[in-house]
Symmetry: C2
Subunit: 226 residues, 2 copies
């Protein structure tokens, strides 16, 4: 698959005329990373940003004790690592491939040159950043205003929504990764999955989750006591 057709249906570049797309594709460099491969590290200086072409990339922080907190998991079409491009500062987190992945790298200088001539692109970029900002709002809200069962319930409802209302869900990431994404640890997540099963909210079979009590889950996500 060539670069132009990959980027043509990303949030960031959609709606741009074909010649623009080709121009942008011209500055992108395709790269491959193996599972577990580090793409950039917290504190490194960035001279460009990325878009996922294939695979899954996690953005995360690590504490001194080695505990990890996932900030985002990005899939095909999603940009990441843009912060240094517009602030000049360092990457604020780490990026690592969760699976063997193909990514596109957009060098800062060439991209800034493009952006200076093109307003729809710029509005897309603003839209992407704003959406991400809103996601963070929700993440902070969950971390400090909800308990872990509430966060898990909210996550499952989000998954269901993404799969247009399906009740049979398949976790897109491992339970260990999910624990980190929810700001907890695998042991705790495991216990909560078990308890949500016992109480009849869901049934769990490996990565396959079936929602048995949608309304109940919604209540759990809201006021959170399991």
């Amino acid at each position: 698959m060539d670069i132009a057709s990959i980027i043509a249906d990303t949030q960031l570049f959609k709606g741009l005329p074909n010649d623009q797309i080709r121009e942008i594709a011209g500055i992108a460099q395709k790269e491959t990373v193996g599972r577990g491969g580090l793409i950039f590290a917290d504190g490194e200086s960035g001279n460009g940003f990325y878009i996922v072409a294939e695979g899954k990339i996690k953005i995360f922080k690590v504490s001194l004790e080695g505990k990890e907190q996932i900030l985002h998991i990005f899939g095909p079409g999603e940009p990441f690592g843009e912060v240094p491009v517009f602030t000049g500062a360092m990457f604020p987190a780490n990026a690592e491939a969760l699976t063997k992945s193909t990514i596109l790298f957009f060098p800062k200088s060439a991209f800034i040159r493009l952006i200076e001539q093109n307003t729809p692109l710029v509005l897309n970029m603003l839209g992407v950043l704003s959406k991400r900002l809103r996601q963070f709002t929700i993440q902070v809200e969950h971390l400090s205003l909800k308990e872990v069962p509430g966060r898990l319930a909210a996550y499952l409802l989000l998954l269901s929504e993404e799969q247009n209302g399906a009740l049979a869900l398949f976790l897109p990431i491992s339970k260990g990764q999910l624990a980190s994404l929810l700001g907890t640890i695998p042991e705790t997540l495991s216990r909560i999955f078990a308890k949500m099963g016992e109480k009849g909210y869901i049934s769990v079979d490996g990565r396959e989750i079936t929602i048995l009590d949608f309304q109940g889950l919604e209540m759990l996500a809201e006021d959170g006591r399991l």
Copy 2:
């Protein structure tokens, strides 16, 4: 003070030519809010964004049980409420004046028109959003990877840095607000202030904090055990 001179030295509009500034000032509406006044509420649709001219505005979420989590506190020159302008979605949080404040409102339609003609403005806007994104990265990191003493230490160091290295600090917000900003409650914050005093890191007298052991605070902010 007229609108043009207020906005001329904001992050967002600095560096723009004078006639541009005047044009932008033309679309802004000055408003006044009393202490405790609500500017917008979580879930409301936004048809514009704001810049603080005078006073202090807190952006926050509230849980069903009424616990509040401050996401940001913005002062003069700082924009807020921009997310709906670029996503079309609702405000993701509440905004309330902490003190009697003057704010400028920029209607969405007029602002989008401006942005479409002007690239330095657009790059400023991208810079502002990116910086805020980085702040959220840090906030999530603190909430899930640090304990409360570490967060407080990091906050005090940030304050010191903002007051170019001063060791005698004055809290810009009440301790209750600070508790919410750090993702905890006043009781816990109070105890931690007391303990940090006993251990000789700081001395506390109302809102006046003096840093006695800068290095110690840095260690506390890093690996966090008090």
